[in-house]
Point group: C2
């Protein structure tokens, strides 16, 4: 069995539930077909297992060092990244014309899942490079694309996203890095950036930093932020490397997990000699950055899911092999101990992991496919998909990272004392995963975004689109007797969510913004659990068809999908009840709790 994925489940999601081959009807993907998608995933899997996984523990134990102002990585990272680039994944999304694989986002997402599961630290380098290239593809000038984006797509250069500063993390409106326009059209930058992943290393010939900064005289807050391209080495007109730019590695952060990816503190313009180019229009920096935000947040969710999957599969394998103890009513001490999976409480911990991780995976892939559909659609259809994607993205990011971390914790518990040691991989899964509820907007911020903005935007338009899709799934699933009870629950819950959205919207409109948003996390719980329940109903419905149309050898597989859906509804969904009630009652304990009462 693969340590990274249950391939049958991935195929089920990609081809039976999401039918990604349908994307090939669009001219952009006309040269693709199911076989090329599967081949890309297969290639990614082989690369992940052969090149990324083997040094996952080693790079954790040997984190990057700063030696004479330079970052030292273990050599395996460079070798793996070279293999990744060689295989073409640095250009997975890029056009054929640019030498890319021109894959749909959803297929690239599936590949990323495997890379992140194998080694989230190492894959951070090319992933960030790809994100920088995408951003330049969308907002750079042709000249910037030629000089900066092309070498990244070729796997020669790398990239970063420089947003946070030591005093401005969640609150980007407060960043202070300053940019001054020079007579030659370039900008001179000065400031410090914190938490910059892959901020300095020797993997490639250059690093293209995408830096948020304020042009002198710009308005305060987010409306005065511009985006700059600041190369580590300056780049000549012909694309060749010039002098060193004034970007200095000021320190490394020592993390709990994902230790292979160097996390840096960078200083720009300490010698007053840091030059960059404006990307996009002045003061539109955050908009440019946020253009990529849905995709980045989906990527964070997929990273969390990857860790969740790896922990789940490892603890499952362990539970099938390790013998320990007997059933509570089995009194004969001379009888052979049973495998862990025979113990109901261990099965509970496995099943909960399965419910959470596969539920999150289905949503992550669903949202990834929406990214493709949005790009391919036009007019009203595109608007509709965009709205739905806006609504679901914070759930993909926050729900997945909250609950796949819960899954990792269960994996540790199943392994017991062994799970607590670094000789077994599950504790690293948890540590690597723990960043995901924090970065790319903390989960608290995602909840505010969901309730305060996405649910309410355009008088609830996105929410109505979701309701319509859920209703469609229910209508189809309701024809199967064993799915009817789930349909009934989901119908009730979404009606309840709709009423809640109205109630809370009205309260906010009446000025009660703060007390309502104080329960944003509860709303994320109630909403997220029901979105995942919808996914499980969708999977169960597809599995009903599989039972009829599919291969006889798949009978257990389809049965298990229906049983897991039922388990999610029976054991996980009821935890949302407390959140519903808190929201309906307007629970306000924390809101009213005065700081000096602590």
């Amino acid at each position: 069995m693969s340590p990274l994925i249950d391939r049958r489940t991935l195929d089920f999601l990609m081809h039976e539930v999401l039918k990604v081959e349908g994307l090939c009807a669009a001219p952009r993907y006309a040269e693709h077909q199911r076989a090329t998608f599967d081949a890309a995933i297969e290639l990614a899997h082989r690369l992940a297992v052969e090149k990324l996984l083997p040094h996952n523990r080693k790079s954790d134990a040997n984190e990057p060092q700063m030696v004479d102002g330079r970052v030292q990585l273990i050599p395996e990272i460079g070798e793996a990244v070279a293999a990744y680039n060689e295989a073409g994944f640095c250009a997975a999304l890029a056009d054929f014309d640019d030498g890319g694989m021109q894959l749909p986002f959803v297929v690239a997402s599936a590949c990323d899942l495997l890379f992140a599961g194998a080694n989230p630290g190492t894959v951070a380098y090319p992933s960030l490079a790809r994100a920088a290239a995408n951003l330049l593809g969308a907002h750079g000038t042709p000249d910037q694309q030629r000089r900066y984006m092309a070498p990244i797509i070729q796997g020669r250069w790398y990239g970063t996203m420089c947003l946070s500063e030591p005093a401005a993390g969640s609150s980007l409106g407060d960043i202070r890095t300053a940019a001054v326009l020079m007579p030659d059209g370039r900008y001179k930058l000065q400031g410090a950036k914190m938490w910059i992943s892959a901020g300095d290393h020797e993997l490639g010939e250059n690093i293209v930093h995408l830096v948020l900064a304020r042009i002198a005289g710009a308005p305060a807050g987010v409306r005065g932020i511009s985006l700059f391209l600041v190369p580590r080495w300056r780049v000549n007109e012909d694309g060749s490397i010039g002098e060193r730019n004034d970007v200095r590695l000021a320190g490394l952060n020592h993390k709990l997990g994902q230790r292979g990816s160097v996390n840096t503190f960078l200083k720009f313009g300490e010698q007053d000699d840091c030059y960059g180019e404006l990307v996009g229009a002045p003061n539109q920096g955050l908009a440019c950055m946020f253009h990529m935000m849905n995709e980045e947040r989906i990527a964070v969710g997929m990273g969390a899911i990857a860790n969740g999957l790896v922990g789940y599969l490892y603890s499952l394998q362990y539970a099938k092999e390790r013998r320990q103890g007997r059933h509570p009513d089995q009194k004969d001490p001379a009888s052979t101990p049973v495998t862990l999976i025979e113990h109901a409480d261990v099965r509970r911990m496995l099943l909960r992991q399965k419910c959470l991780v596969e539920g999150a995976l289905s949503l992550g892939l669903y949202a990834s496919k929406l990214v493709d559909e949005e790009h391919l659609a036009e007019g009203e259809a595109a608007t509709e998909i965009n709205l739905l994607l806006e609504l679901l993205t914070p759930v993909v990011k926050a729900w997945s990272s909250t609950y796949c971390l819960v899954a990792n914790d269960l994996a540790i518990q199943i392994l017991g004392g062994y799970g607590y040691t670094r000789e077994y991989p599950v504790e690293q899964c948890w540590r690597d995963n723990r960043i995901n509820p924090i970065h790319e907007g903390t989960n608290g911020i995602q909840a505010l975004d969901l309730l305060g903005r996405k649910v309410m935007m355009q008088q609830g338009a996105a929410f109505r689109i979701l309701m319509a899709r859920v209703a469609k799934t229910i209508a189809k699933a309701d024809m199967h007797d064993d799915l009817k009870p789930m349909c009934a629950v989901l119908r009730t819950n979404f009606d309840r969510l709709a009423k809640l959205a109205q109630l809370l919207g009205a309260r906010m409109a009446a000025g009660e913004v703060r007390p309502v948003l104080a329960n944003a996390e509860q709303f994320m719980h109630a909403f997220g659990h029901n979105v995942i329940a919808w996914m499980w109903l969708m999977m169960a419905h597809r599995a009903e068809h599989g039972r009829v149309d599919g291969a006889a050898t798949d009978a257990t597989f389809y049965l298990s999908k229906i049983a897991t859906a039922q388990a999610f509804f029976a054991t996980e969904l009821p935890t949302a009840e407390a959140a519903f009630e808190a929201l309906e009652k307007g629970e306000d304990s924390a809101f009213r709790f005065e700081p000096d009462w602590f």
Copy 2:
């Protein structure tokens, strides 16, 4: 502010809620009084802050090494342990006559809380030594006490508990270490022991291993296990150190946390030259060991609470100081950012930590005082206290370690990116704490113990004692208008628990042991949350009195205790509803889920 404890809260619990000074009415504690208890706690606090805390991070970063078959620790560990012994805490519980402090268990527990909060890795060495001394005090012969216990109480020697083996962790009945009686009355041992904390080091002159093993020909299972005292160095008749015993350090385990305490794999009798002495009667080893089990499990709970407290206090301090962002309805980007604690969602995370950690602390101290009361009582009163203690111990252990770990996770989240780095202490709190749901009986086993044994024993006698105590608290609290709603909820919930106990007991009696115990974890949730709710009601009731009788300067303190109790009832207790329903319905998703469906 102390980084380890809110001293006012500890005083409130010790003196206002639990009135520990009442123990001084017993002859054993007649020479003590509140002042001596407070002085012990004060001394423990100073020692914790000055000697244990400063190297907590260093010992995490520099874990013990095995060099030429010996364990190397950083020198600070030895210095701190020497100071601990010098201050007399190695003999906190021992008799005055033996040179001890003769403290009640509850006072020692409060001291341990401070030690464990400051440095759980270092304090493991003397804690385990104390546990070994206690066991020898209860079950050793006078000769064993003279030769082995006395040097431990004097702080010269150390001790371990050797239970687990590589293939027998949770299932002690399957241990294989063998003991053979020699003509001189000693036993020769052979076997391997896994997960032995403080199993080898050079801190003292000797280490007394307490080892579970089977005497040749003993019955299978737990009824054939005997307890042996196996010194690292043999001990002559006069107590002087003799030759090296055949106990070999075979390897170290590399843990996720608590790295300062060396965790070892030991081999006994590889050269066929390992000698030990029987402690207690043959085949009564587990009973001897379990004699100390309640106290050990309470200690694990207190350790978890200590980590919970430290994370809570650190994140509270951080949230009061760090400025970031603005309120959602605060549009002016030029306004000064607010402190984190001003954000409702951060306050939610702080308040949840407070609810969980202080709730667990109150139960931990309550149970600790029951240990004293049991020792001091006689006849029926002693039986009653013992039953209650048996019932509450798995909750102290499992609930505290589950939910104080949740608290640590929230502390990480509050610190954001900083919380994810090893430059800040909250991630270590989580890592150190993560062992507590695993060791001394996993939380799954605690849940089985609670539902399968403790709730059911003697036809529910322990549960009835608890019900009576809860009813007494409710009767008193019900006289205060603002506590009435909590009283009503608690009354309903305990009635519901009582019905559940009957229902589940009847099902088990009818042979449905496995499906009923499959929901043991749900029962722990429902039961544990209501026990903690009872504690909060008790604290709120005491705070009502404090508001009347106490100092005016304490007004906010008492108010906050009542508000926190209300918050626990409003936000935390409702999460038990899903568990109640699962139990009442006989939810069986995991039980029915076949291994090959995964």
